[in-house]
């Protein structure tokens, strides 16, 4: 009889009300350098502003560390080294456990600050970044008194003073990835956060004070490229760890040649996400989305090159287009936001330039998500390109934004060849229901990380790092300790 349903049925259009994260947070107007356990004004007398990329509002002034400041920091680390490195591992572990627990206790504050300063959705800083930060400290704390078991038959010694330069895409998480293994192994550190995202690293310094980490064991110097250069070239640095662009990485490698400094580099990527026709397609589409639109595509291992087996191309495009309609782009402080603000004006311009190049070279742009973007701040609609060949600029160069290049292949051999045809070698995704194919393809991909039927999964126990121009050295896992120890 099929009558129409009930009376006074609510209307079908159901929108989510605004759900702003309201955790109150105070941000000091000026942020000094953290050297020798204290916050100190810069000898350079220079300051720079950090802004909220979602609103363009200034958040605070940050000290610029000049050569003299960097020198003081490195000397403080050098002075702290003998005592710290001679502490029993179990004692160093206590500090790391305390740091981890304090981060958990202040998790909401860190998440809010990370989102304000960097533009990433609060959902991600709350559910991904900050929990992984705590996990990394917990994980490395566990190793601190077991280093001889990580390297059986060898005597383990710290390297010394570590200079560590980190990027702006996962500010606090990168600080944790650098500091935790270094401290566990008995080194002391001078950390330089990226200039657009210094706030959470400086708040971490407060935590270090709270847990009474000995003065000088960790020093934090803020500033732009010059500060990094001073740090990298300082003679008392025994080890340099850098995460960032391949261009800067190459320069650091050239400059450190012959100095005796140890070096690890975690650089750019142009990772392939390969979808075979026998994959679970609905879930693969989910993997495409989390591969490229997670953190606005500001991810070194972003799956920015999609290779789809030809017979399912149309279906994948259709499903991807549909899926992108439910991506919520906008205010990063709203708990329902999936894609936040682009980290800086400069980065936005870079991304926009690549999109223009993609169109000019004949690519077909698809902006499946046509939401009204806020008028202020740095915004880029998630998008993908079809009619792209591996030789197109946007399919070769790292964009570091929510821009995906969709390409095809016909055979596993072709998929592997195309995926490997890049100077980079950081990560890849392989999607197939056939186990033997997963292993065969994964084995032949020249990358550091292969995710099978998933993407962007991180764990402190799992090593992360690249091949070719994506760098060398591993972070996380037992392998992540190796760059921070001398084996004798």
């Amino acid at each position: 009889m099929a009558t129409e349903t009930t009376t006074n049925t609510p209307s079908a259009s159901w929108e989510y009300s605004a759900a702003p994260e309201r955790f109150p947070i105070s941000i000091e107007e000026t942020h000094k350098l953290f050297i020798d356990g204290k916050f100190v004004s810069p000898k350079s007398r220079k300051w720079f502003a950090t802004t909220n990329p979602a609103t363009d509002e200034k958040l605070a002034d940050i000290a610029t560390a000049g050569a003299a400041d960097v020198n003081t920091a490195v000397l403080a680390a050098k002075k702290a080294l003998p005592k710290w490195s001679k502490l029993p591992g179990s004692e160093r572990a206590k500090y790391l456990y305390r740091i981890a627990r304090r981060i958990q206790e202040r998790a909401r504050e860190f998440a809010v600050l990370e989102t304000l300063d960097g533009g990433k959705p609060i959902k991600e800083s709350r559910d991904v970044d900050v929990p992984l930060v705590a996990q990394h400290f917990f994980y490395c704390a566990g190793w601190a008194d077991k280093l001889e078991y990580a390297f059986p038959g060898r005597e383990v010694q710290p390297i010394g003073v570590c200079g560590q330069i980190i990027p702006w895409n996962f500010p606090l998480m990168m600080a944790a990835w650098k500091l935790a293994p270094a401290l566990a192994c008995g080194n002391t550190c001078v950390l330089k956060p990226a200039e657009t995202t210094s706030l959470t690293a400086l708040r971490l310094a407060e935590v270090l004070q709270e847990v009474e980490l000995p003065a000088g064991v960790v020093n934090i110097v803020t500033g732009a490229g010059d500060t990094g250069k001073h740090l990298a070239e300082h003679k008392s640095i025994n080890k340099l760890a850098f995460t960032g662009s391949t261009g800067v990485g190459k320069m650091l490698m050239r400059n450190s040649a012959g100095t005796g400094k140890r070096l690890t580099l975690e650089l750019g990527g142009k990772s392939a996400n390969i979808i075979f026709a026998d994959a679970a397609i609905d879930q693969a589409v989910e993997g495409i989305v989390s591969g490229i639109y997670f953190n606005q595509g500001h991810v070194c291992c972003a799956g920015s090159r999609l290779f789809v087996e030809e017979p399912i191309l149309e279906e994948v495009i259709q499903k991807l287009t549909h899926r992108m309609k439910s991506l919520r782009v906008g205010d990063p402080m709203d708990k329902n936001t999936d894609v936040g603000a682009i980290n800086s004006r400069a980065q936005l311009q870079t991304i926009e330039q690549y999109i223009k190049t993609g169109i000019a070279e004949g690519g077909q742009l698809h902006e499946a998500n046509n939401q009204q973007l806020p008028s202020k701040g740095n915004w880029c609609n998630p998008c993908f390109f079809t009619d792209i060949q591996p030789s197109h600029t946007i399919a070769r160069e790292e964009i570091f934004g929510p821009v995906l290049s969709v390409m095809t292949f016909r055979t596993p051999e072709e998929a592997i060849t195309r995926a490997n045809n890049t100077p980079y070698g950081l990560a890849a995704g392989v999607w197939t229901d056939k186990g033997s194919k997963v292993f065969e393809v994964a084995k032949r991909l020249e990358v550091g990380i292969v995710w099978c039927n998933s993407y962007n999964q991180f764990d402190a126990a799992s090593p992360f790092g690249g091949f070719k121009e994506s760098g060398f050295g591993r972070e996380g896992g037992m392998q992540g300790l190796k760059p921070y120890v001398k084996l004798v």
Partner: protein, 303 residues
Amino acid sequence: MRRHVDTVMVEQRAASFTRRSIKTQSKTQGLRLALSMIDLTTLEGKDSDEKVRSLCRKAITPWEGEITPSLPSVAAVCVYPSLVRIAKRALEGSGVHVASVATGFPSGQFPLSVRIDDVTKAVEAGADEIDMVINRGAFLSGHYDEVAEEIKQVRIACGDAHLKIILETGELETLENVRAASDLAIEAAASAGPIADGEVFIKTSTGKVSPAATMPVTLVMLDAIQSYFDKTGVRIGMKPAGGIRTAKQSLHYLVMVKETLGDDWLTPNLFRFGASSLANDVLRQLVRQHTGRYTANFDFSEA
């Protein structure tokens, strides 16, 4: 062809819907929507005429208290075939549908002729909707044609009554089976004649087997519905049943429907909750939003 389904990513996506923050206006609207989608259900051996009449009263007017705008009725009352006449009379003119389980619910372990007769009798007694169970024994032993043929015959026996096809996903166990059974059920129903939007539903569970409805299982079924819509433009309905007890859970399901099939499916014509205790929790939350206070259990009629 069986579609591959990968559990890890299904669970990851399903969990993402539970992280949405549904507050204030959207919460009120969502809860009202959820209320209007409930199939208020009683499927006990001890069900009496009296219990069904009382359930029907609740279906029409879920809460006797004052609330503006007035609350919607639920979508349907779901009973055994022997109680359809009682429900039909009690719901007359209210717009609330009578749904009847049939086909030898819940096991389906009866000769086909008996199951078909079960459907025919329920329809004759006035059921607007038939909730059938598929032949899981035949499905799990790979006799897909047999399962499909039975669904087709049941749909024919339904006449104008809408059909909800219960897969009993707790017995199918794997998500791949869930997807295969969903595709099979939809195609089989379509083989009996053209389907108008909302005329055929797929439904997770009888409520008699654990686990009943879960978010990952429902997500896989929604994917099947999406695929069929992409292919044909026909909107199949979805009914998770069993295990959805709280207002919060119901909002998670609505978020999932909105972010997969889209707003078009956010109507009782295309989405239902098979539940009994859910109604009172939704009411409790709605009344709290209205008055600022939680109401005691005894202030709500039992469901």
